[in-house]
Amino acid sequence: MKTPEKVKKTNYGYLLGYILIPLAVAAVSVLIGYLFFKDGGPGAVVCFMGGPAAAILWWIFAGGVIYKLAQKKMLKQLDGAGIDRRQIFYSDGCVVSMDMEQGKIGLLFHWNPFEVQVVPAGRVTRAWTDDGAGGPGIMRGTNRVSFLFEIDGIKIRVNTFISNQRWKMNDEKVLEGISKADLWVHVLEEAQRRGAGV
């Protein structure tokens, strides 16, 4: 856990490794099959199917599993550092925790899961809700509601509602998403105000 000079949303080493290592494993597996099992048989099946299948499973599931484990680790780290984490929001791409008393924001990103970043709330420059509303007339709706905030000019988006279809703006799920986003904007603004000593 650290207080970075600049918030890092993506660990490019991890991202590249996440994509390329399974690709390399699949390629090596296929190469072994090609070189040593030209005549077919169970070995060829394992080499030609096993490696690529493992790579695909990795791409589908591993990111979520690593992110979940990192979330558990984050809680332990925040507890260890004496940071109040009762106010916490888990999103698909980011976890945000807020300690109002100490004015500290804890951040964990899906693509940077090995680093819990703790930032003073005074570094938040603005926070707002994006209800994602779009579409004409009766088609007006949204498939994503989120709150956004900027730390040192870096924009962080946290989804409170996401769907693969468009929902009406007065749908209960959308309203709940908007309410959560508005609540967090309120919390961030309050923390920012306190951090600025207002």
Binding site: M169, N170, E172, L175, E176, I178, S179, K180, D182, L183, W184, V185, H186
Partner: protein, 116 residues
């Protein structure tokens, strides 16, 4: 809240079951539920919960984002004088409201607390 719930709320809560007639709206008040925030609503039917958690407010704008509100209406039957209190917990979201279904107290459980 489903269609049946909405229908019941609209047409049955204010109905005197003894006299089989519509009751009059006697009193109305808005409360905040500061201990219930968005995503954490669970229905409570015990009056003690509301005695502990309801705080009177003047208008919806007084309720911070993400916090539940609760409308309370007391109905009175003009014929038999029976009083019924209906609580309507809801989440205010900008100009909209997400209602969770009403809770009816028919035996005056909350009268002393709500209508002081």
């Amino acid at each position: 809240m489903g269609l049946i719930g909405k229908w019941l709320r609209k047409y049955q809560d204010d109905w005197c079951r003894d006299c089989k007639r519509e009751m009059e709206e006697a009193r109305k008040q808005l409360f905040a539920l500061p201990n219930v925030s968005v995503g954490h609503y669970t229905e409570h039917r015990e009056p003690e919960f509301y005695e502990k958690n309801l705080y009177m407010v003047d208008k919806k704008a007084d309720i911070p984002p993400g916090m539940y509100a609760c409308g309370a209406i007391q109905y009175r039957c003009p014929e038999c004088g029976k009083r019924v209190t209906v609580l309507d917990p809801f989440l205010p979201v900008r100009d909209e409201e997400k209602h969770e279904g009403s809770i009816v107290f028919r035996d005056g459980e909350l009268d002393d607390f709500l209508w002081l």
